[in-house]
Amino acid sequence: MRRVMITVALAGLAASPARAQLQEVRQTIFGMD
C-alpha cells in the first residue's frame, strides 16, 4: 500500500513539476438566498 501511494506522488510531480495552485474543489452550496 505504501509503495503504491509513493508512486502516485511521484507521478504527480513528474506530470506537473511546477504546480503551485488550486487543483480541485468540491464546493458545498446551499439553496437559493
Binding site: R19, Q21, E24, Q27, I29, F30
Partner: protein, 146 residues
C-alpha cells in the same frame, strides 16, 4: 451558476449537483483561481457557498507560530490547521518544498481579508507521506478527495 464558475479563467470543468448540494470544479494545470473567486461567482448566482474540500499545491512557510501554504499561482495563502501530527509533518516541509494537500476550507465571511483556513485532512487513512528526491520534498495525503 455552472456557467458563471466555468467562465472563471483557469477553470477546466464544473459539475453541479443541486440535489446533493455541491459543485465539483477542476482547475487547469496553470491557473490563478482562488476559493474566494469561486465562492463569489456562486454568491452572485444566488447560492450560499459553505465549506469546500480542496486539493491544492503550494509551499509551506512559517509565520511565527503559524504555518501557511502559499499558493504561487494565485498569490494567496491558506492558514494551515489540523492534527498536531499532520502539522508537525508539514512543518518539516517549510522552507520552499512543494507540497500537495487535501483539506477542508470552512465557510468564509464575505469580504474578509483574513487568510482562508485549510484544515488538512487527517484521521484514519489520511497518513501523510513524505518523499524526498534530489532535495525536493513532497507531501501528499492518502485521504481521497472525490
Amino acid at each position: 451558476m455552472r456557467v458563471a464558475v466555468q467562465k472563471l479563467d483557469g477553470v477546466r470543468s464544473v459539475a453541479v449537483s443541486l440535489n446533493d448540494g455541491y459543485a465539483d470544479i477542476v482547475l487547469a494545470s496553470q491557473n490563478a483561481v482562488t476559493v474566494e473567486r469561486i465562492r463569489e461567482a456562486i454568491r452572485r448566482n444566488g447560492f450560499t457557498p459553505r465549506e469546500a474540500r480542496v486539493r491544492v499545491s503550494g509551499t509551506v512557510v512559517r509565520r511565527g507560530e503559524q504555518l501557511l501554504l502559499e499558493v504561487a499561482g494565485s498569490g494567496t495563502a491558506f492558514l494551515l490547521a489540523g492534527s498536531p501530527e499532520a502539522l508537525e509533518r508539514l512543518a518539516h516541509a517549510a522552507g520552499g518544498s512543494p507540497v500537495t494537500l487535501d483539506g477542508t476550507v470552512p465557510e468564509s465571511q464575505r469580504g474578509s481579508t483574513m487568510p482562508l483556513l485549510l484544515r488538512v485532512a487527517d484521521g484514519p487513512g489520511a497518513e501523510l507521506l513524505e518523499q524526498r528526491t534530489a532535495g525536493v520534498g513532497t507531501l501528499t495525503s492518502r485521504h481521497g478527495l472525490m
